[in-house]
Symmetry: C2
């Protein structure tokens, strides 16, 4: 099976590149074409995952695919956007049909779950597996949630339990084929798309927690020129995490581990999520009054 | 200089991520935000270039950048689109400031030339240099030129000389730092953006010639369910190519070499470009009545 046949069979199949009201023209031309609803803007984000860097070597093609699409969609969730579709640029060491079939299966699961079909891409040969996904969605003009809107007096919220992604990492590094328990948070960190839309009316700032809570809250503080006080006892952690690690290690993962893909946001009043602190004057994130080391994910 | 500082200094600089009326929100949030003019659709295309595969190892960062952005923009040209901006996902073996500085210099030259700023991206670490660029533009709704509209009786046109890109390849493989003569067609294959917009009113189909004329015309034939007859004497070739290679070799490059990034299009009447043949019934591309071997670029 050559490149064109392979793409046709597994990437351009009806289960993956399914029709969507905002996709006028999909795979097969030099460009894809999207129509953006009147009064809406397009929001888009691009993310790369490299074999052995962003997922362990030896992980299954299916799991690599679900993780890749989930982490990209998480950026749409952080803006409060409705997904339209995604593009995929994949560099493969060889054309292994079984691998591509499993990979497309993982994409299909997540694409269907979030009504976000594949509408374009590029398949290239290279010495290492590199996956780049760009996701596309829309928001009402002027309504997207940015990092720069946090106000002194706002409270700080998160959308769910923290630390599961970082807690899963030692487990999948030890056995890349484990999928149950914490490992599923690594391979399938379901993006909080609905949550992102639900906080649109009252969130003053938001982002997805990918590099670690403290580092990511620091991004909101820098963009909004504010500080934050976080109450350590309010940090939500799963029973799964607390049953696997002692409390101190679990808290380390929750505060500084990456890969959570929950949303953090600020608002003057809570309607959704878990309140973990407040926005104050300053430029630092303090945890129970202390400046703790920022050991979140370093990309280089 | 860490990742954030490097991105801030070289990718998020005013010369590269300059303002554009359709970019509401650029680098710095989870997503970028574009506003598409009323009555227009977004067109977009993603392309990957891998070190040692799509450009020779040892090429300068500047030249890699100009080539990467040019070949991506060529897809917008083929749709008759006006550029808005591009995203960049780059995987680097290490953070070499001088390399990133030169690379951003090459991007700036092409981005400025086509009013197409950088508005988002992802920088990752990996064992090999991989560059993925997604370009974004707009066209009037229903006006984009697709591959599927060629009609029996149309003529076949190209936008300029063919074979220079393929003729340059042995030269740059021999010395990746040569920039003059044919080599500039490899590193700076300027996308035919204005030409693409000029043929919008009368082109029935179009694409950019990236894999070789005969292979690419075959894509129009397949999408439009037609055949083509090409007149070999009408194939335009540059003096530079004909002074470098004998006529037979030059023709081989023009017919089957890749990397031209001229446009090929069909129309019932010519107003622009060079007529090289006609659309006929059938499903094959014949050159002077002969079916010639399709030895265009094979991706795997």
């Amino acid at each position: 099976m050559n490149e064109f046949q392979l793409i046709q069979t597994y990437f351009n199949q009806a289960d993956l590149s399914f029709s969507h009201p905002n996709i006028c023209h999909s795979i097969g031309d030099d460009c894809a074409e999207l129509s953006i609803p009147s009064g809406k803007n397009l929001v888009t984000s691009i993310d790369t995952l490299v074999d052995g860097v962003h997922f362990p070597q030896g992980a299954s093609a299916y799991d690599i695919a679900t993780r890749s699409l989930c982490v990209s969609l998480s950026d749409l969730a952080a803006m409060g956007a409705v997904p339209i579709g995604f593009t995929l640029a994949i560099t493969l060491p060889s054309l292994n049909e079984q691998w591509v079939k499993e990979f497309s299966g993982g994409l299909i699961e997540i694409a269907r779950m979030f009504n976000c079909p594949l509408f374009g891409g590029d398949t290239t040969k290279g010495p290492v597996l590199v996956i780049t996904i760009q996701v596309h969605g829309f928001v009402a003009r002027g309504a997207s949630i940015k990092r720069s809107g946090a106000q002194v007096g706002d409270k700080v919220y998160v959308s769910g339990c923290l630390g599961d992604g970082a807690g899963a990492l030692p487990i999948v590094l030890n056995d890349p084929l484990i999928r149950s328990g914490l490992a599923q948070h690594f391979y399938k960190p379901l993006p909080r798309i609905d949550f992102g839309q639900s906080i649109l009316p009252y969130a003053t700032s938001a982002l997805d927690i990918s590099d670690g809570l403290i580092q990511d809250l620091g991004h909101i503080c820098a963009a909004s020129e504010v500080g934050m006080e976080i109450d350590i006892d309010s940090i939500p952690m799963s029973e799964l995490l607390l049953n696997t690690y002692d409390r101190e290690q679990a808290l380390q993962y929750a505060l500084n581990g990456g890969d959570d893909y929950q949303l953090a946001y600020t608002s003057s009043h809570c309607e959704n999520g878990i309140c973990i602190g407040r926005v104050v004057e300053g430029n630092q994130v303090l945890v129970d009054g202390q400046l703790i080391g920022n050991t979140g994910y370093q990309h280089f």
